[in-house]
Amino acid sequence: MSDRTLSLKSAMLFAAIACAVAGCASKDDVSPADVEKQAFEDLRTEIRAVIDDPAREGEAIALVNELSEDLNALREKIGQRRQRVRELNADYDTTRADFEAYFDKVDREIRWNKRQVSEKHREFLTIMTPDERSAIAKTHSKARDAAIRNIQTI
């Protein structure tokens, strides 16, 4: 798929979002998941355009794919945590020790997540040069901007 085709696809997706917000929703409504999917696709396109070396390009794309999966897993995990805490709170007989044990478990998960993400970030720094990172950071697409807003609410 060419860059131009992807840009058009991205623009159409954003138009559909704007339409949905304006109240002209139809059966073709665009979900936040669709926006995010398009944003990651735009990002891959940009990486292909910016990195000339095929080996590093492949590594960068693989890393983006992993981050996309990690993001979905994190979102799911946070949903499960919220639900579990609501269940604990709703039970009048839950002890403080029950809560603390659960929070300790969550703390361990957060620490593990930080180590994993830091490792991937180090990998990212070795794959891309500062100029390449800067070039990618400067580009925007409407889907990417919308996805960032989604991601920031996780």
Partner: protein, 122 residues
């Protein structure tokens, strides 16, 4: 997008304030409890929970901005990220501790039946 993604992933998401929802039950408390001193005390505790959550959210915003700023640099010092993260993680712990204190304070004002009705949707 990558920088925003790494920022939020490093922080483990921005919705780690898992007890924040309790503070949003003022309306239920007003419906379920009789308007008396106990209700007044319960609402006061919920207000304190809201205030604590707002302070925690401000901390998150500062940590998020700090990490984003570091990640945008050409030469990234990971020690700077670790320092911000450590401070943020300590705040998560303190927040959970403070919110549990306030939850137990809330329970002193609400009886079992009222509690079950207020949180029946959960």
């Amino acid at each position: 997008m990558l920088i925003a993604l790494f920022t939020i992933m490093i922080l483990g998401g921005s919705s780690t304030a898992t007890l924040a929802f309790i503070a949003d039950t003022q309306d239920s408390v007003k419906i379920v409890m009789v308007k008396d001193d106990r209700q007044k005390e319960a609402l006061s505790t919920l207000k304190a929970m809201k205030k604590r959550t707002n302070a925690r959210n401000k901390h998150l915003k500062r940590a998020s901005k700090g990490i984003y700023k570091v990640l945008r640099q050409d030469v990234i010092n990971t020690a700077d990220i670790d320092a911000i993260w450590t401070g943020y993680f300590a705040e998560i712990d303190q927040y959970d501790h403070d919110m549990l204190d306030l939850r137990w304070e809330l329970k002193e004002h609400i009886n079992r039946e009222e509690w079950e009705e207020i949180f029946s949707g959960d």
